[in-house]
């Protein structure tokens, strides 16, 4: 495909990272689109779980909230929210957890709580929701983020969820046994943690993206892998699937409008 947006590339790259036997804890927005594109293309057997309690959902349209009726109607089953967090998330049954970020640092630590001081914030953000335990209970964490200097910062204002902390073996030192962030998918590139330092390192640039563009939209000095790949452009199937999904979604969300 010749024509695609950076957001489309981000979503499709995230979809590709998912395997047929993954069990994903899905968030709203890019993760939801990515997980469903994966399900509708190469990973029909993937299990999608939304924290509202729906297990094994297969929505026709993307939900606006994590608890839309569509999720329940297409799910294998729907459990209570306490059960979701106890047996399914903290029970260690999720292979991939998706997180977004208002602020992200180079070690995959995430802030979605406040900009500024906690007690007197400049901006009060929604907060962590499930993120503190998603970050430590899922087998691996994938982060999706539209790159911007104010989002990718040297020091985040608040540790809403823990990534690799100060890097290295910081997770193990806290007794956390899961892998943490293993992939960062932005609208410009794919990033993976350095095996030793755990600092996010660009391993693949999306088509048409330069190193400078990545650095210009990141608040820390970017490390690039020795062998830098180009992310394959979306295939017709991938892009068609994503756009169809979004068109169906838009049509559905227009509905139900009253005067």
């Amino acid at each position: 495909m010749s024509d695609f947006t950076p957001n489309e590339m981000m979503t499709i790259a995230a979809a590709r990272a998912l395997r047929n036997d993954d069990v994903c804890f899905v968030g709203i927005g890019a993760p939801s689109a990515a997980c469903n594109v994966a399900r509708l293309t190469h990973a029909p057997g993937i299990t999608l779980i939304y924290e509202s309690g729906t297990i094994g959902t297969a929505p026709e349209v993307l939900p606006l909230s994590i608890g839309d009726g569509e999720l329940c109607e297409t799910a294998l089953c729907t459990v209570s929210v306490p059960e979701m967090f106890r047996y399914w998330l903290m029970g260690g049954r999720i292979s991939i957890g998706f997180l977004g970020a208002a602020q992200l640092d180079r070690f995959g630590n995430i802030n979605t709580t406040v900009i500024g001081d906690y007690a007197h914030p400049k901006v009060r953000l929604p907060g962590g929701g499930g993120a503190p335990e998603i970050a430590t209970s899922c087998g691996e964490i994938f982060i999706t983020l539209k790159q911007a200097k104010r989002a990718m910062v040297d020091k985040i204002d608040f540790f809403t969820s823990f990534g690799h902390g100060e890097g290295g073996d910081h997770r193990q030192r806290l007794g956390i046994t899961t892998k943490g962030p293993t992939l960062l998918i932005t609208d410009l590139a794919l990033w993976r943690p350095d095996p030793e330092s755990k600092e996010f390192t660009v391993t693949s640039l999306h088509r048409g993206v330069t190193r400078e563009m990545v650095q210009d939209n990141c608040g820390w000095p970017v490390r690039f892998a020795a062998e830098l790949e180009e992310t394959p452009a979306p295939t017709e199937l991938e892009l068609g699937t994503l756009r169809d999904l979004q068109a169906r979604t838009e049509a559905a969300h227009q509905g139900g409008r009253r005067g």
Partner: protein, 282 residues
């Protein structure tokens, strides 16, 4: 014992100024009508407890009725921020509020602990996160078998919980289905329970044995309010009004727009308006 009451009587009888109250609902079955009735009655100084304070808590905070909010995710679901709540936290408008913040996992388990008569919930959580630094209610205990430090938080024991449900039987048993959220736990953890329902049916005979039911003797009052979850939805009755959630972002962004919307859509009307609001969503 469940008593069938008009919503205004149910709220007046069971919600008092200064109470800790949960209006629970996880995206589905959010008790909007009950919250609007509380706003109309001007019951204030409330400690609002909820995993996902969304539009209704934004409205109660914007009306100055909240003293404290205990929560884990303060967003307009799928849309963005809660602008009235932000205004209260960032600018103390219309008044300052205290916030006590947890994770979803913690909140869900604090309700479960409350329902189980326990003083605390114990779980593997908050590792490496900053919330324990700013919320003194997050403590830790050491597992006597493994030596692991686990998070401990106080159980939720609201004075009163409001929920919305599909059906009540004539006896006052209440059925919840679809995305059931944390409502059963929130109800069983509370000292008093008020439920709004879409309809009353003769009995639940013939329903599947494992459905989520609150027996009538766990409930204090039931009010029949068709459409009472709008713009949230009631599985099997009407769909979510996504457009209303998008609208809220605009209305709540402006103090004047908010006040005038609350006047005409909440203060000047009664619970009977909800039925009409969901007509096109059925």
């Amino acid at each position: 014992m469940a008593e069938f009451l008009a919503l205004s009587d149910a709220v007046a009888r069971h919600l008092k100024a200064g109470d800790t109250v949960a209006f629970e609902g996880f995206t589905h079955l959010i008790p909007h009508a009950a919250a609007h009735e509380a706003i109309r009655q001007g019951i204030g100084e409330l400690t609002l407890l909820r995993m996902t304070p969304d539009i209704i808590y934004d409205q109660m905070i914007g009306m100055g009725l909240a003293r404290t909010v205990i929560f884990s995710y303060a967003g307009n679901p799928g849309v963005g921020l809660l602008r009235r709540m932000r205004d209260a936290i960032e600018n103390a408008y219309p008044r300052a509020i205290e916030t006590i913040e947890h994770s979803h996992s913690a909140m869900a388990q604090a309700y479960e602990a409350g329902a189980s008569g326990l003083p605390l919930a114990v779980f593997r959580g908050y590792k490496g996160a900053d919330l324990p630094r700013v919320n003194p209610a997050i403590k830790s205990i050491t597992c006597p078998f493994t030596g692991e430090a686990l998070a401990a938080i106080p159980a939720h024991r609201p004075d009163v919980t409001f929920i919305h449900a599909q059906k009540a039987s004539e006896k006052g048993d209440v059925l919840i289905e679809g995305i059931i959220g944390v409502q059963k736990e929130a109800a069983l953890a509370a000292r008093r329970v008020v439920v709004t329902v879409e309809e009353v049916v003769p009995s639940f005979k013939g329903l599947h044995p494992n459905l989520t039911i609150l027996p009538h003797w766990t409930i204090d009052a039931i009010a029949v309010v068709p459409g009472g979850a709008h713009p949230s939805y009631t599985h099997g009755y009407y769909a979510r009004d996504n457009a209303a959630y998008l609208d809220w972002d605009r209305i709540s962004a402006d103090r004047e727009a908010f006040s005038s919307w609350m006047q005409s859509n909440v203060l000047d009307v009664g619970p009977e308006v909800f039925a009409a609001r969901v007509e096109s969503l059925r």
